[in-house]
């Protein structure tokens, strides 16, 4: 669904990484690790078309990202659910409307209905639906971001440090949600520093760990 083939990305005159290949196939569950500043977030942005590779090929659902117009990228993003570290909500809209936003912009707001309520219950935010995002705790925001990422039933879920601001119990809950989605056939890519999260995931789902370090992406074990 999303393929990176020998991709390089340069920023400010320096090469952040090069020769990176990655395939987000249906049902795959992958972790992306590496030191801060290695380019994990940049790599994720290449995966959902926010940035363009300096060289190499990025294919989003069969299309060459370099040749895609902004509208085509927008349509591709409707198949990708993104969970940001800082969540990124529209702070003036209630949580429920934020979660329904992908359906709204796709002109499918009427589909939200009961599904939205189920989703809010699923992520444990049924009682926070009418609150504004700044009123939520870190964990609640992460769960709301996950709900927003999945409401449109995307083929791929990309999460950038989804457990960065939450406690272990909440991390486990989020992980279970992601594993459930993966079992539905969604491809999952999680960028994280949290080795405990990776170890916990390995006991529940067949996953692959990739490490971005020294400008290269390598398959790694949990011990890395």
């Amino acid at each position: 669904m999303i393929e990176l083939d020998r991709v390089a990305y340069s920023y400010g005159g320096g090469e952040l990484f090069s020769d990176v290949s990655l395939n987000l196939a249906p049902g795959s569950f992958q972790f992306l690790t590496g030191p801060s500043g290695a380019g994990k977030t940049t790599l994720l942005k290449l995966c959902y078309g926010e940035l363009r590779a300096t060289s190499g090929h990025v294919r989003l659902f069969g299309q060459n990202a370099r040749e895609m117009g902004r509208d085509e990228v927008a349509l591709a993003r409707r198949k990708i659910g993104v969970v940001h570290q800082d969540c990124q909500f529209l702070d003036h809209l209630p949580v429920a409307e934020n979660i329904a936003l992908p359906l709204t912009v796709a002109g499918r707001a009427q589909e939200a209905g009961d599904y939205l309520e189920d989703l809010l219950r699923w992520v444990g935010l049924a009682h926070q639906a009418g609150q504004l995002p700044p009123e939520l705790s870190g964990g609640e925001r992460q769960r709301a971001a996950l709900a927003r990422a999945v409401i449109i039933s995307p083929d791929v879920i990309i999460a950038d440090e989804p457990t960065g601001n939450i406690d272990w119990e909440m991390s486990q809950r989020l992980l279970r949600l992601l594993i459930e989605l993966n079992k539905m056939g969604k491809a999952v890519l999680i960028a994280t520093h949290d080795m405990n999260l990776i170890r916990a995931a390995k006991t529940q789902v067949q996953s692959r760990v990739l490490r971005l370090n020294n400008r290269r992406l390598q398959a790694a074990g949990v011990d890395l």
Partner: protein, 301 residues
Amino acid sequence: MITAFGRFIAMLAGDPLADRSVPPTGYTARLTLFTSGAMAFLAVFALALSLATGRLADRWSAELARTSTLRISAPADQLDAQQAAAIKLLETTPGVASARALSAEEQQELLEPWFGPDIPIASLPIPRLIEIIEEGDGYDPTGLRARLQAEVPGAILDDHTRWREPLIDAAGRLRLLAVTAILLIAAAMGAMITLAAQAALSANAQVIRVMRLVGARDLYIAGAFVRRFTIRAFAGAAAGSIVGMLAVLLLPSTEVAGGFLTGLGFQGAGWFAPLCIPVLAAVVAFFATRAAALRTLRTQS
């Protein structure tokens, strides 16, 4: 054209949920309302000037075009004979409805403003004047001049062209100025709304980023801003137009002040003309905001 109009309506109808995506921005809202209101107020006066000068040009043209004057300058003993010959000739000229020699009293009235009421008109070598009223398409001035030259050597035909043309030209220029003013007002309003829209877009960079993240297309994002600014411009211009029309309505009447300026106003169906101003403002706001939004979204990608 139909497609463009369809897009205009579709974007205006839009999606109320999309509008909620953009937080209300008090500063740009007030700026747009005030600008479009003030511009509409000025546009009402420019429109009134345009319509008034149009009426003035038509009136001057009509009044002067249907009449002309024949002046007969000849020795005193030939004046009566030449006048009679001229009237006879004019009565048989196609396009002339009537020809009438001005009486001594009428000529005295014409000269009074310059020479006073006691002018001894009978003792002065004043030419005779014949007023010609035209009918249908009027007479052929070249042919008439040729016949007059042959039969009434002291006659000079004045068809008022040299008076009429500069007056109509002046009225036309005034009208052009008024139309130019309306266009400048529309352009200034477009510029102000563009700046306000750009300010709103810059202030909402994070909103745009989130909208894009969840798959919103540029037109969808732009639409939320475009609708908001179009509706604000329409509301502001409607208010400005109403105030402008009231101001025109309250101008002094012709009977009180007289003169050209008192003709500055709307007459009959002309009162409906200012209703176009809010619509024009909305169209200007629509295209100005759309262009600004799409340009900004392109640069932010």
